[in-house]
Each structure stands twice: as structure tokens, then as C-alpha cells.
């Protein structure tokens, strides 16, 4: 039904040609789960051809941030802007249609289904509107994995039979295949070997070269300093500081993460009461 639904791509964006507004912007987003304030008035912006890293300690709100942007959670407050216009995805499909592709931390793969079915999870190619066009999905999945050197033996193999690195390849290839202007990756290198991490790094570099806006959530500061342009530090549900990688050091970022170095956000850090 929707292979070609993924073309907010050519909205006249070329690398670094961004005008005044960022491709993706989050303004004052808050999200609570019961009494836990996961996000507290968080701002974030990414331009085309830029790779933004989001770092922070466990429980800093990184994954919630990803889920708010990818449409899994709707923020309680605040707004999300893509190309300067406000969107309100209540569902991952809507976020995707607005140009946001996501690689989830848990990869969002179904172990019992084969690679081809996983590549088209939630966006199958149809025949006559109702039937699944397996032949085309298998062919497309093969093509995609060949392009991104997925290192996967066959698209007919169940994901449950693949190694961690191979699964990661499938999840990343799936997100990139959508060719959206905004790519979110939540811990893309967790549980990967050296070689596989390097491949993810080169994929990120090529996304930047294609003029995509990329957001990477990662614990791996070495990786972040090597592949990202800006670093946004999350702390206790707030974005405490944003630094250009050229203007900061690893120690500086660690200080911001742990709170040893005060961030730019000097507002009261206690979660607001009520609700």
C-alpha cells in the first residue's frame, strides 16, 4: 500500500543547505509516566546534514525522548516540528509519514518472522490492497541488504536465527530504506563488535553526506566523538547542555552527564508537582 509513502525526502534539501529552521525541532516537550517525570521541558533541534548525539546516564530520559519523536509516546506538553511545521504523531506510522525513521533500542524485530517480513513490518507492500506481496517484499529486502552490506545470509531466514550484529543490520537497513530526511537511532552500537560498530559509523557518515538529519542516542562516547557533530546531554529528564564536539572534551561531557559540571539549564531541577 505504501512503499512510496516515504518521500518527504526530496523536499528540496541538500546537505548544509538548511535555511533558518532546523529539519527537526522539539520544543519544551514534557512526558510523565504516573509520578515519574521522564522528560521535563526538553528542547532539541537538528539540521540537515548534521548528526546530533544525545547522551546521558541511565534514566536521563533518552529513550523517552526517542519515543516521543518517533510517535510511540505523545508528549504531555510541548511541540514537535518537522521542517518548521508542527506535527503531532500519535503513532509511529504518522511519524514515519512525516519523515522520521527510527531504529529502536530493542530493534523492534519479530524473531519468529523472516528478515523480509521484518523489513516491511507495519508497511507491507500489498497486492490488490489486501494481500501481502511477498515476492516483491523479498526482492526489495534483498536489494536493500545488498546495498547496506547487511551480512545476512538470506532474507528468508527467521530473525531469531541471526546473531546480534546481523539483527542490528536488519533494523538499520529497514530504517534507512525508508529514505526519510530524519533518522533516529537509539543505541545503534550497543552489543556490537568492533567491526560492526565501524560499519554503523560509516552508515552514519553517509547519512550525513546525503543531507539527512540524524539523532543518535548512545552511551559510547568514543563513537559519539568520532561520528557526531553536536552533543546534547540529558540529565534527570532535562536537556542540561548542548556542545559542539570541536568545542568540548570527553571529560567535559562526562562531567555534564554526572552533574559534576553544571549544565546550561539552570532552572529548578526538582520535577514540578501536580498532575
Amino acid at each position: 500500500m505504501n512503499t512510496s509513502a516515504v518521500t518527504p525526502v526530496e523536499r528540496g534539501l541538500t546537505p548544509r543547505s538548511t535555511g533558518t529552521y532546523p529539519v527537526l525541532e522539539l520544543r519544551d516537550a514534557s512526558k510523565s509516566f504516573g509520578h515519574v517525570v521522564a522528560l521535563n521541558q526538553v528542547n532539541l533541534s537538528v539540521h540537515a546534514g548534521e548528526v546530533l548525539a544525545v547522551v546521558g546516564d541511565n534514566g536521563a530520559g533518552k529513550s523517552t525522548l526517542v519515543k516521543v519523536i518517533s510517535g510511540v509516546h505523545r508528549p504531555d506538553m510541548g511541540e514537535l516540528l518537522v521542517h518548521g511545521s508542527r506535527i503531532s504523531p500519535g503513532h509511529p506510522t504518522e511519524a514515519r509519514a512525516q519523515g522520521i525513521s527510527t531504529v529502536f533500542q530493542d530493534l523492534a524485530l519479530v524473531e519468529t518472522l523472516d528478515v523480509a517480513a521484518n523489513m516491511f513490518l507495519g508497511r507491507q507492500i500489498s497486492r490488490w490492497g489486501v494481500f501481502a506481496n511477498r515476492r516483491r517484499m523479498i526482492a526489495e529486502a534483498e536489494k536493500t541488504l545488498r546495498t547496506y552490506q547487511g551480512n545476512v545470509p538470506s532474507v528468508r531466514v527467521a530473525v531469531g536465527e541471526l546473531s546480534g550484529g546481523q539483527r542490528q543490520s536488519v533494523a538499520i537497513a529497514r530504517a534507512i530504506r525508508e529514505n526519510n530526511p530524519i533518522v533516529l537511532m537509539d543505541e545503534p552500537t550497543a552489543a556490537l563488535g568492533v567491526q560492526e560498530t565501524a560499519r554503523v559509523g560509516s552508515i552514519i557518515n553517509s547519512l550525513r553526506a546525503e543531507g539527512k538529519a540524524v539523532v543518535i542516542v548512545s552511551h559510547d562516547l568514543g563513537f559519539v566523538f568520532e561520528h557526531c557533530d553536536r552533543i546534547q546531554v540529558m540529565r534527570l529528564g532535562r536537556s542540561s547542555a548542548t556542545r559542539d564536539v570541536r568545542d568540548t572534551t570527553r571529560e567535559g561531557v562526562i562531567g555534564l552527564i554526572t552533574g559534576a559540571v553544571p549544565g546550561d539549564d539552570t532552572r529548578d531541577h526538582r520535577p514540578r508537582s501536580g498532575s
Partner: protein
């Protein structure tokens, strides 16, 4: 994916240079990995052995009887398979089957005609299925509890409304639907065939079917990737209710009466047929043909044991054994199919051992 049991071995994983399994080995793995084939072989074997004891095993009438008994379990079973593959469970179908029979019979008995009788029965099934689906998916209650509740409640309601008395005898033109033959076979068999094909296409060929399977395999991933999980998982219960009620209306037509004592334990037979046919109660795995063969095996077994003059009390013993064996095979298949950590470790050890052998 079923039948790719050998694929574990054929992955050129990080270690590389692992030789492809021999053709013969792959064939045997496929044979034991495929529940449908195993069930079909068991049926054939049972019939062949039975035929040495009783000539009736090759009697056409016996087989018409077997098929007629298979029909109801097969109709409901196909959609129970879809529920199970979706990671759900529907125990209410025994009562829904009866409610469909009684509801359809009441409408036919009142003279509203066959079409309305079927629509009434199906409507009851859809309503109960919708209630199940909403409670399970939106109120997030456990499927086993919700459908156990509706199993009791629906039966109690139907028994009270009918005061426990069967509705009938029903008009001849309504009874003809379930009692007539065509080309030597009961019409019921043709209906079942159509419904089975519909269920097959739905589960194995449509996008809906793939979404059902994805939800059964990993509900969180399915939601993250934008599948309307609650909507799909609710509709699956509606389909299950409709199919069970439709089977019930057909049963009322066949019997010429709507009996509120029908369908006691029907849900267990249906689930048994699905399990025997290779459907996993943990979701994601299962096929419509497997369930149809499972239903056929149950029917062949009960009829066959009567022909063999086995004590009727032992019939259910045989059914119980078959279910447990089927569940054991499901477990074994899964262990082989997926790369669990123990599997990988075992595989590595096996490989090292064979390397040593090769070096000698």
C-alpha cells in the same frame, strides 16, 4: 519459516566455512519440522493399521461420517488458529458455538427465514468476540480469564433464555442446509472447505495475516513499527466468535434443533486440533492446514477407536496422549528453529569436535 529447521546449520555465521547440510538431512529435518506432514502420516498409518482389524476403515460411509464430524471443529479451529498465532486464546467458543445454534434456531423457528437465522447467530458470535477482544486488548485483561468468564456467562444466559429446552423442530428448508448432500458429500463439507480456504488466505496470504503473526511474535515490536496492534488483536476475537457461532448455526441446521446443551467441551476439542496441527500456544507459529489435519486426526481417532471396539472410556486417553506428543514436538521444533544461546554453544562444540576429526 516452518520447515527451515535446517537453516540454523546453513547460516554462514561469523565463523564462516560451515558446510551446507546434505540434501537428505534437510529432507528429514523438514519432515519432522512440519507438523502437517507428521499429522498426515499418523492419520494414514492409523487408518492402514486399523484396516487390518476392521474393513469398515475403507468404507465410504465411515469417511463421510468422519468428515461430517470434522466440519465443526475445523470451521472454528481455523480461526482459533488465528487467535493463537496472534498470541491470544479464546475459551468462549464452546458457549458461542451453542449460543449461535440456539440463536439461529430461535430466529428460524420464529419463521424469519434462513438468512436472518444465520445473521442472528453470527451476530451473537461477533458480539461476544468483540466483548472478549475489547476486554483483552483495551482493558488489558488476561485472555484466559476473560474468555473463561464469557464461556460461563454466555452459556448461562442461553440456558436461562431457553429454559434449558431445545428449540425445534426447525423448518425443513432451514434443516436442509445442514442435512443435504451434493455429489455424494454432505453440503457441510463444502461449507467447511470454503471457510477453511478463507481462513487460509486470511492468515497466510493477506497483510492482516502477517500483522497477526507479527503481533504474536513480538507485540512490542509490532506496535513500534506502526501495526495497529489493539485493532488487529481485537478483530481476531471477533472472527473467532463469528466462526464458532457459524459452526453452531450449521450444527442446529444439521440436527434440526437448537440445543442449549450443545458444545460442552467444544472449545477444548478445537484448541486440541490446533495444537495437534502444530500451532503454538505461545503465539506466532501455526497454520490453517495444520489445524484442519488436527481436526481430521481427532475425528479419525474417535471413529476409528469405535470401529476397533476400544473401550469408549479410553478414547479420550488416546486424544490426551496425542495432544501431549504434539506439544512435545512443538517444543522440539522451536528449540531447533531458533538460535538460543544453548543452541549456539552446542553448535560450536559440535563444530570443534568435527574439526578435530577432520584434522586427524
Amino acid at each position: 519459516m516452518r520447515g527451515t529447521g535446517g537453516a540454523l546449520v546453513s547460516i554462514p555465521a561469523a565463523e564462516g566455512h560451515r558446510s551446507a547440510p546434505s540434501r537428505r538431512r534437510r529432507m528429514t529435518q523438514w519432515a519432522f519440522g512440519s507438523a502437517e506432514l507428521v499429522v498426515a502420516l499418523v492419520i494414514i498409518l492409523f487408518v492402514l493399521v486399523g484396516a487390518t482389524q476392521s474393513a469398515q476403515f475403507f468404507d465410504g460411509l465411515t469417511w463421510i461420517n468422519i468428515l461430517r464430524n470434522t466440519v465443526f471443529v475445523a470451521i472454528a479451529g481455523c480461526f482459533t488458529t488465528i487467535v493463537l498465532v496472534n498470541g491470544g486464546l479464546d475459551l468462549s467458543i464452546g458457549s458461542v458455538f451453542m449460543a449461535g445454534a440456539v440463536g439461529g434456531a430461535a430466529v428460524a423457528d420464529a419463521g424469519y427465514g434462513n438468512l436472518l437465522a444465520f445473521l442472528a447467530g453470527i451476530g451473537i458470535g461477533a458480539a461476544v468476540g468483540l466483548l472478549n477482544g475489547l476486554l483483552i486488548n483495551y482493558a488489558q485483561m488476561p485472555a484466559i480469564i476473560v474468555t473463561l468468564g464469557t464461556l460461563f456467562a454466555v452459556r448461562a444466559l442461553a440456558v436461562t433464555l431457553t429454559q434449558g429446552q431445545p428449540i425445534g423442530p426447525l423448518p425443513n428448508d432451514f434443516a436442509a442446509i445442514g442435512q443435504s448432500d451434493f455429489l455424494g458429500l454432505p453440503l457441510l463439507v463444502y461449507y467447511a472447505l470454503i471457510i477453511v480456504v478463507v481462513a487460509y488466505l486470511l492468515l497466510h496470504r493477506t497483510m492482516f495475516g502477517w500483522n497477526v503473526r507479527a503481533i504474536g511474535g513480538n507485540r512490542v515490536a509490532a506496535r513500534s513499527m506502526g501495526i495497529r496492534v489493539n485493532r488487529v488483536a481485537t478483530s481476531v476475537y471477533v472472527l473467532s466468535g463469528v466462526s464458532a457461532a457459524l459452526a453452531g448455526v450449521l450444527m442446529a441446521s444439521r440436527l434440526g434443533a437448537g440445543d442449549p446443551t450443545l458444545g460442552n467441551g467444544f472449545e477444548l476439542q478445537v484448541i486440541a486440533a490446533a495444537i495437534i496441527g502444530g500451532t503454538s500456544i505461545y503465539g506466532a507459529i501455526g497454520t490453517v492446514p495444520g489445524t484442519v489435519l488436527g481436526a481430521l486426526l481427532l475425528s479419525v481417532l474417535t471413529t476409528g477407536l469405535i470401529l476397533l471396539k476400544v473401550d469408549p472410556g479410553l478414547q479420550n486417553f488416546a486424544v490426551g496422549v496425542v495432544i501431549i506428543v504434539a506439544a512435545g514436538m512443538d517444543r522440539a521444533r522451536k528449540a531447533r528453529m531458533f538460535r538460543t544461546s544453548t543452541n549456539v554453544a552446542r553448535e560450536r562444540q559440535g563444530k570443534k569436535a568435527s574439526d578435530k576429526d577432520a584434522n586427524r
